[in-house]
């Protein structure tokens, strides 16, 4: 549990973050969205004390984050940034091993952890471990950056526009990976982005920031249905609302019994993707398959249209 209590940060006379209070539940993904200059980056940098708040308290699992020396605090919190910030003079393995080394883990434990993470991120440890960052592609560098942040098995992972530098296809893949990783470790994630699409894709809860204030902190559904301010509404984009609503849930959740013609779609696809497939193939319904390939039922255009409508 991460609790922000009346957090304010001023530089001179300008308040970059203004009286923010919110609580982040453990094992969830919270996405902080806002335009540039909205204070979102400053807000999460105060969690691992890269920035000290002017006033207010941040509690991590009930404990004031100023109760331990800052370097100790940071070793406990994973931190991944845009442009990955990998150390160019260290190999991939050494980069990932950074925090475990600082914590004084023994060699074999570090090696095992590095291998585990590289494998998890679909990078062959034997091939990539000894490479230098400049030898990797942008997507690979980014994955190593996240792997490094996770190396010491932190309960909390802070991510500052981690996928900002990636092209759309690699970015989508990276987001999927992140969801899988989050499930795997159960890590609490606070992620900053300016991309609403990314927020809806990843978040359990979204905090929208504007001019240093959190103007709405809610689940994606609630934010769609009841945007707190015109700014939030604008950020979501009025024409995108039904599709964002569909993007939140998986196809599996809308399955109804019965059969349908044509090739099936996977049940862990989002409903938005299912709609897209229905529209493109010109069908009224399509079969839905589980991960083992067995057909679990059908998904109809009608039901999706109903689900895309504003809930009452």
């Amino acid at each position: 549990m991460i609790e922000f209590e009346h957090i304010t940060k001023r530089y001179g006379d300008t308040a970059v973050v203004r009286d923010v209070s919110m609580a982040v539940a453990p094992h969830t993904v919270t996405v902080v969205v806002g335009t540039s200059g909205s204070g979102k980056t400053t807000l999460i940098r105060m969690v691992n004390r890269l920035v000290e708040p002017t006033s207010g308290i941040i509690r991590i699992d009930g404990e004031d984050n100023r109760s331990v020396p800052e370097f100790e605090l940071r070793r406990r919190i994973g931190y991944a940034i845009q442009g990955h910030g990998l150390f160019p003079h260290r190999t991939v393995a050494e980069n990932i091993a950074t925090v475990p080394t600082l914590l004084g883990w023994d060699r074999s434990r570090i090696r095992a952890k590095v291998e585990e993470l590289l494998t998890l991120f679909q990078l062959d440890p034997d091939f990539f471990g000894a490479r230098y960052p400049h030898e990797l592609s942008g997507g690979q560098q980014q994955r190593v950056g996240v792997a490094r942040a996770l190396a010491a098995e932190p309960n909390l992972l802070l991510m500052d526009e981690p996928f900002g530098a990636l092209d759309p296809i690699i970015r989508a893949k990276a987001q999927e990976d992140l969801i899988a990783i989050q499930k795997h470790f159960g890590t609490t994630i606070i992620l900053v982005t300016h991309d609403m699409e990314e927020a809806f894709r990843l978040a359990n809860k979204i905090a929208v920031m504007d001019k240093g204030e959190v103007v709405q902190y809610a689940t994606p559904e609630e934010m769609l249905v009841r945007p707190a301010t015109p700014f939030v509404e604008e950020l979501i984009g009025a024409s995108e609302r039904p599709f964002r609503l569909l993007a939140i849930e998986r196809a599996g959740a809308a399955v109804e019994p019965g059969a349908a013609e044509g090739p099936p779609i996977a049940e862990d696809l989002s409903q938005r993707e299912a709609l897209s497939e229905l529209l493109w193939s010109g069908r009224e319904a399509l079969p839905v398959a589980a991960s083992d390939g067995s057909i679990v039922g059908r998904l109809s255009l009608d039901s999706l249209i109903r689900r895309a409508a504003r809930p009452r």
């Binding site: 370097f71 605090l73 940071r74 940034i81 950074t98 925090v99 230098y132 030898e135």
Partner: protein, 251 residues
């Protein structure tokens, strides 16, 4: 394109040959006497005979080494100091001082050291040290102030202490640039040390000066070539070291 590759290999062979020749000349200068004899008048010695060439080379290199070592230590420490928060006030001034200092001709530094430290090894060492500080300090400053911001942010974010960041991230990343400064400093020092023999320091300049004074072209040439080959070889060796370091990490 094979040509640059071949050129590189040719250059390496040339350097190794030059090194071999230099060593043979220093250890067995007598072998070269017939070559140099035509350059001198009857009865004049063709090979420097007022001291061992090898020994002078060793002393020359020792002077440069000691001065560079001290200069590196002090310059890098100062650069670290002014790039920390506590010394940040001195950063702009130290930049201007380095710019001003480098317009001072090394000979003038040597000449001005004499009134203070007298003749012999000391003024040369002091002049080499003082002048050697500048390029190393300037490069260390460049290296430490131009680190990629994302990397520094990540270093802080992973929970490194200030000391760990300096030793594990900042200095290693700045190392190739610092090495370039050391190389520049060494080249200047090799040259200034040669002039140091005019203030009675034991260096290879002695051979050239003796040749000039006694009108012995053979002395002048052998002194000149030893110093020249030594300087070019050391310069190239240091450059190769920099390249291998910078190339590996691709900073």
């Amino acid at each position: 394109m094979p040509s640059p590759f071949r050129f590189l290999r040719l250059a390496t062979i040339l350097r190794l040959t030059a090194l071999m020749l230099l060593l043979v000349f220093l250890l067995l200068p007598g072998w070269f006497e017939p070559l140099l004899k035509p350059l001198v008048q009857e009865n004049a010695p063709a090979i420097y005979n007022r001291g061992s060439l090898f020994w002078l080379t060793v002393l020359h290199l020792r002077t440069v080494f000691v001065a560079t070592l001290a200069a590196t230590f002090v310059a890098v420490s100062l650069a670290i100091l002014v790039t920390r928060e506590a010394g940040a006030e001195f950063l702009p001034l130290s930049r201007s001082l380095v710019n001003i200092g480098q317009t001072f001709p090394p000979v003038a530094v040597l000449a001005l050291a004499v009134p203070i430290y007298g003749f012999g090894e000391n003024p040369t060492l002091i002049a080499l040290f003082l002048y050697g500080l500048l390029p190393i300090f300037e490069n260390a400053l460049t290296g430490l102030t131009s680190l990629p911001p994302a990397v520094m942010e990540a270093a802080r974010g992973t929970g490194m202490t200030e000391r760990q960041r300096l030793l594990r991230i900042e200095l290693p990343l700045a190392l190739p640039v610092i090495l370039t400064g050391i190389r520049l400093s060494v080249v200047i020092s090799l040259s200034t040390a040669t002039i140091g023999s005019t203030v009675a320091a034991k260096t290879l300049g002695e051979v050239i000066i003796a040749g000039l004074q006694s009108n012995n072209l053979a002395f002048v040439l052998q002194g000149g070539f030893i110093v020249a080959v030594l300087a070019v070889l050391i310069h190239d060796a240091l450059q190769a070291l920099e390249r291998s370091l910078a190339g590996r990490a691709h900073v």
